[in-house]
């Protein structure tokens, strides 16, 4: 076991560090968010600067503008960005999840057209998968894509929890192309220009009052022929690729969320009485232990990834640990520092953000189902939707509600 960099990785790290020393002054102070056009522009410029230096798409193949390096190099970049106190790229979702999906399933034309501007932040992407009635059961989406006379498509429906939609150029959209097939079989993935006629984007405010997400409405939106990513009615496999890269992104950056034991310790240690209180110590020790475990589980995961193994659904347990430990930390810090903590600032943001994060990327309950079945091999839940055409399924659901 060795947590030190190999000589090659150490050399790469000093190269990244040296570049950051020279360029960090160009970084925006915070992440760009939707209601702050200036912040987004600054963050976009920062991504472009990083991309020109070769620090975006580190693991992407060279033929698509990436560096063709391994996941450990990506982690080194993330770590050095964090150490320098500067944000990473603007389009984490595009570069981390959607770009790799296009590389895996897209046509040559799509790769040619979309990947380079995505890498440089010139065109930001958003993920249009979840719907108000389909989250955990993603294959139950209802947004429809109907073939047009010219071979293109018409999209109608609603998506939700869409990060970055306000300033995205494109979205990767999962829609139903054949409702007479069982629900996983009638789906197709599309590229959608977000400025197309009929696309409406509405901010979705969260507990904090900040619009962290959007709702996106599609009203008979026209797509050009060739907008499909992967085969028609083969969208589920494409979506699974995206979700796999999501796990990879989370696994490689489990500390990227900032839920670290030392950060929470600083807040508590600022009050010496709290730091000596048995109850506070017990509560802090419990959550700190979980976060330490998470850090070293991350190293195990990275080792596996660097040896070419793909993390399985058990990587999702890391998210359960991170979110619950952070919730405990927020509660404890507010207990120690008092009600003012809830008003504004770092801990108020954390406390308000976490209840939503608990469901993001799969609720804790659905994660535990998946892991119980795929990892422990426990028998599946009885399913009432297997092999039934989606259209009949919907009718059945309506009947049940009425009965």
């Amino acid at each position: 076991m060795d947590l030190n960099d190999s000589p090659e990785l150490a050399a790469y790290r000093s190269q990244v560090r040296a570049w950051l020393e020279e360029n960090a002054s160009h970084a925006p102070r915070t992440r760009g968010t939707g209601d702050d056009a200036e912040g987004v522009a600054a963050h976009r410029a920062w991504q472009r600067r990083l991309a020109e230096a070769g620090y975006v798409g580190v693991t992407w193949p060279a033929e698509h503008g990436g560096q063709g390096r391994g996941p450990l190099e990506q982690v080194v970049v993330n770590q050095e960005l964090a150490a320098a106190g500067v944000p990473g790229i603007l389009d984490v979702i595009g570069v981390g999840m959607l770009g790799p999906t296009i590389i895996a399933h897209g046509s040559d034309e799509q790769k040619q057209r979309y990947l380079a501007p995505m890498l440089h932040g010139d065109e930001v992407w958003c993920q249009l998968f979840s719907e108000p009635a389909a989250g955990s059961d993603l294959a139950g989406i209802q947004a429809r894509a109907v073939r047009d006379d010219d071979g293109g498509w018409r999209i109608t429906g609603q998506k939700v929890w869409t990060t970055n939609a306000q300033f995205a150029a494109f979205g990767l959209l999962l829609a139903r192309t054949d409702a007479d097939l069982p629900k996983h079989n009638g789906l197709t993935m599309f590229v959608v220009p977000m400025d197309a006629a009929g696309v409406t984007i509405r901010p979705l405010r969260q507990i904090s009052g900040e619009p962290e997400f959007n709702e996106v409405f599609f009203d008979d939106v026209k797509l050009e022929p060739g907008s499909e990513v992967g085969p028609v009615n083969g969208g589920w496999a494409v979506a699974l690729t995206t979700l796999m890269f999501e796990r990879l992104t989370i696994g490689a950056g489990s500390e990227g969320l900032g839920y670290r034991a030392d950060r929470f310790a600083a807040a508590i240690a600022s009050d010496p009485v709290a730091a000596a209180d048995g109850g506070v110590r017990r509560a802090y020790g419990e959550l700190a232990t979980e976060l330490l475990a998470l850090r070293f589980t991350g190293y195990r995961l990275l080792t596996a990834i660097s040896k070419g193994r793909i993390p399985g659904p058990e990587a999702g347990l890391g998210k359960v640990t991170a979110v619950n430990a952070a919730i405990a930390a927020g509660d404890l810090i507010a207990d120690v520092l008092g009600p003012e903590t809830l008003q504004r600032g770092e801990w108020a943001d954390l406390i308000s953000f976490l209840p939503g994060l608990k469901s993001a990327g799969g609720t804790e309950e659905i994660l535990r189902n998946t892991i119980g079945e795929r990892v422990l091999g426990l028998p599946p839940e009885p399913r009432l939707d297997k092999g039934i055409p989606f259209s009949e399924l919907r009718a059945k659901e309506r009947q049940e509600v009425q009965a």
Partner: protein, 379 residues
């Protein structure tokens, strides 16, 4: 970066699993509760070379690291084997660091002699004093007192330490004691020396031999180790009990999953119900959250000694919680039958209940994690 076991370590683990698999240790754990003798696993231990695991090759041992010791401990824990390594390994690590008695080390390495660590807990920010396990109650006892000197240049130790793992029958005791100025010292005392009394303590988990050790002017040899090395022995014991627990958790989970697949209610296997599935996933989560800090502790022991206290305490804290949870879940999944004498589940439960309260207790390890991290943050 490489944060997984080497091929040699995987081999060591598999070999340990094979060696222990030849004895019906779980049945023996139940029989021992009714007064039967535990199977003597010391010859197995010696033959496998575990007795000399932490003794350097120069002294006749295998010269392996803490992580290797943990892997063996995990296999012992998996089958509830009563192997006296929890006492022996930290004691031999100290004797090896001292290096003064080549012959004794060779005998300990070969298994011809057995050592037991009589531990003291290193002080922390709230109480700098080294303390020992009390016989009962929440207040810790003072660590045994040592006075250095005398005609043979040795040391005299007096004091009592309760619930010492593997103390009964040990050939040599390595005692953590403090001088009058509070300086911690390690003293090797012959198990049969004058002034040594070891009262066997009957335990809820009969696979774990424990003793209350009373030293009354017992003479021994001062070891050439410093306070940090002595503290590391305490934390090594924490890591080993954590590793034992990890093995027991893995076995409890395996048994729970197996049963959840074959027991049916309302026409469905019970493992298909979310209530069961989510609970067993929680065991898995805690199991993996124990493995990671254990690896961390194994790595830190050799490569980052400054972090060993934190790593070993984190491992102990996670492991304790994991075993508590896994053992109760093992019973719950089995329903009423899981709480009967004939069933194996109560043996894992007994292991969990006792382990949680030894060597300072799981809660103390959690507090140590807080002490280490809050201390760093305040600095």
């Amino acid at each position: 970066m490489n944060f997984e076991l080497s091929d040699e370590q995987v081999f060591l683990r598999e070999a340990a699993r094979d060696a222990l698999g030849r004895v019906r240790t779980v049945e023996a754990a139940r029989d021992a509760l009714e007064g039967a003798e535990l199977p003597d696993l010391w010859p197995t231990t010696a033959q496998a070379g575990w007795t000399g695991l932490l003794i350097s090759e120069d002294h006749g041992g295998a010269g392996l690291g803490a992580i290797d010791a943990m892997l063996v401990a995990a296999e012992c824990g998996r089958v509830l084997a009563g192997v006296a390594l929890l006492g022996h390994l930290p004691a031999t690590a100290l004797l090896d660091a001292d290096g003064g008695e080549g012959q004794l080390l060779a005998r300990l390495a070969s298994g011809a002699a057995r050592a037991a660590f009589v531990p003291a807990r290193p002080g922390d920010d709230r109480d700098p004093a080294w303390t020992a396990e009390p016989r009962r109650g929440i207040r810790r006892a003072p660590a045994p007192a040592v006075t250095v000197g005398g005609s043979d240049g040795g040391a005299t130790v007096s004091g009592t330490v309760a619930w010492v793992p593997d103390a009964p029958g040990a050939d040599v005791l390595v005692v953590a004691a403090v001088e009058s100025d509070g300086r911690p010292r390690a003293v090797a005392i012959d198990g049969g020396a004058a002034g040594v009394a070891i009262e066997a303590a009957s335990a809820y988990d009969a696979t774990r031999p424990l003793g209350h050790v009373t030293l009354d002017g017992a003479r021994g040899r001062l070891l050439d180790v410093d306070g940090e090395q002595l503290a590391a022995a305490w934390f090594l014991a924490q890591a080993l009990i954590a590793a034992e627990s990890l093995g027991a958790v893995e076995e409890a989970l395996r048994r729970s999953v197996e049963y959840a697949k074959e027991r049916f209610t309302f026409g469905r296997p019970i493992g298909s119900y979310q209530a069961i599935k989510h609970a067993l996933t929680e065991v898995l989560r805690r199991q993996e959250n124990t493995r990671s800090p254990l690896y961390y502790a194994g790595w830190a022991h050799g490569s980052k000694p400054d972090e060993f206290a934190l790593a070993a305490s984190a491992a102990r804290s996670c492991a304790g919680g994991a075993l508590d949870y896994a053992a109760r879940e093992l019973i719950s999944v089995h329903g009423g039958i899981g709480a009967t004498w004939e069933h194996d589940a109560p043996l894992f439960f007994r292991r969990a209940q006792l382990s949680r309260r030894l060597l300072g207790g799981t809660g103390d390890a959690t507090d140590r994690v807080a002490a280490e991290l809050l201390g760093q943050a305040a600095a």
